[in-house]
Amino acid sequence: MEQQIIRILTELRPEFDFNQNINFIEEGMLDSFDIVNLVSELDSTFGISIDGVDIVPENFSSVEAIKNLLLKNGAK
């Protein structure tokens, strides 16, 4: 799952290295429009619909946070 997340993130913002252990939001690697595109990609890749109330910046701050978000929303 982590590798799929990194692949999607890299496709969205190829200029950044998402393997780093840093906060993607605080470092300006993802803005709110990136999150819209990211959620759309994650939804279709994992066959889920991430709950709208979970679409807050902190849930997209790291690969681990995104993984937890996916698991919470039923991704296998």
Binding site: F33, N37, S49, V53
Partner: protein, 354 residues
């Protein structure tokens, strides 16, 4: 706050759209998105094209054009209007009320009520509830509800939160007493602690427009706006909608004793496609029952998106037949409201261009 009404119906909806079409491609250069990001957002958010008023056109001009069309085509009797409601955030003047200006333009009877209501995204539902309340009075048999907004001049060209989605439009809705005893269920919620999630900082009495308020400033997300421009705190609005609207709809259906599947159409306000699809998923409604194509074809004209949605997507199906619809609006105020009612046997339901 919950409401129930009987013996009232919508007998006609006319949506009036500007003829000028502006495409996302024409504006993409203002937003500093990469081409790939733009294309993805186009699909997810519904960035395609929007309708924009010509310079100098005001909300009342669209209303007057629409009402004149109805008079000319024998669809509305000028002397049979007992109340004229104008719901907008873009009135012609601070004073007088725009509804009075429209009444005066047509030389309508004096024995009637004109009222301006400052509401936006939930303005169709708020206006309908006000119309239903007025129709409880013996003296009022027909209400004309005007929803109109020409807010595009207030949105910065370099505001990628709002500019790609803004639209200008008006609608004329006729609401009358009826023999139909079917119950209309409605509710309204307000939270003024979030009043500035959507706002125009300058131009009122608190902060009059000046050379200083016209200075463009860059926000943390790279948008450029002045204090004379509309500001939308997109993240806050999105979270508010996702948190508050699903329970409101559940409550409405529960109050009415109606199952989700028994509703033919969910005609919601359309801020953007992504937000609507997330709402549909959360509430458990198939996308086919919740059209999300208004913002991509015409833009978000605040309270006019729901009547536009009805005119564009339901058309003659509510002239020739009857459909159970759930209407919902949510946004500026913060205000959120929903209505469950039958729409049918209407005299007209269409779109014209001005």
């Amino acid at each position: 706050m919950d409401f129930t009404f009987r013996n009232k119906k919508i007998t006609g909806i006319l949506t009036v759209l500007p003829h000028k079409v502006v495409t996302f491609e024409e504006e993409m250069g203002n937003y500093s998105f990469s081409a790939a990001k733009s294309m993805k957002l186009k699909l997810a958010m519904g960035y395609k094209e929007h309708r924009i008023a010509q310079p100098g056109q005001c909300s009342s001009d669209f209303c007057i054009y629409g009402m004149q069309y109805l008079f000319d085509n024998g669809l509305l009797d000028k002397d049979g209007i007992d109340a004229l409601l104008f719901v907008s955030q873009s009135p012609d003047y601070y004073m007088p009320p725009t509804s009075n200006i429209i009444q005066g333009h047509f030389g309508m009877k004096h024995d009637m009520l004109c009222m301006d209501i400052n509401q936006g995204c939930a303005g169709f539902e708020i206006g309908l509830i006000e119309a239903f309340l007025l129709l409880e009075q013996p003296a009022i048999n027909r209400v004309v509800l005007l929803n109109a907004d020409v807010l595009s001049p207030k949105v910065s060209d370099r505001d990628r939160n709002s500019k790609p989605l803004i639209g200008d439009a008006a609608s004329v809705t006729i609401i009358e007493k009826s023999d139909d005893a079917s119950v209309i269920h409605a509710n309204v919620r307000m939270d003024g602690t979030g009043a500035f999630a959507l706002n125009i900082p300058a131009g009122g009495f608190r902060l009059p427009s000046s050379a200083e308020t016209a200075v463009m400033e860059e926000d943390a997300a790279g948008n450029f706006r002045s204090k004379d421009n509309l500001v939308m705190q997109g993240d806050n609005v999105f979270n508010f909608v996702q948190r508050e609207v699903p329970p409101m709809i559940e409550h409405l259906l529960e109050q009415a004793g109606v199952l989700k599947d028994e509703v033919d159409w969910y005609m919601f306000h359309q801020p953007n496609k992504f937000m609507l699809h997330k709402l549909a998923d959360k509430i458990g409604i198939p996308y086919e029952k919740m059209p999300a194509n208004i913002v991509e074809n015409f833009g978000n004209a605040s309270g006019v998106t729901v009547p536009t949605n009805i005119s564009y997507n339901l058309g003659d199906t509510v002239v020739d037949g009857i459909r159970k619809v759930c209407l919902a609006g949510f946004g500026v105020g913060l205000t959120w409201s929903s209505i469950l009612m039958d729409l049918g046997n209407m005299k007209f339901n269409k779109i014209i261009e001005f």
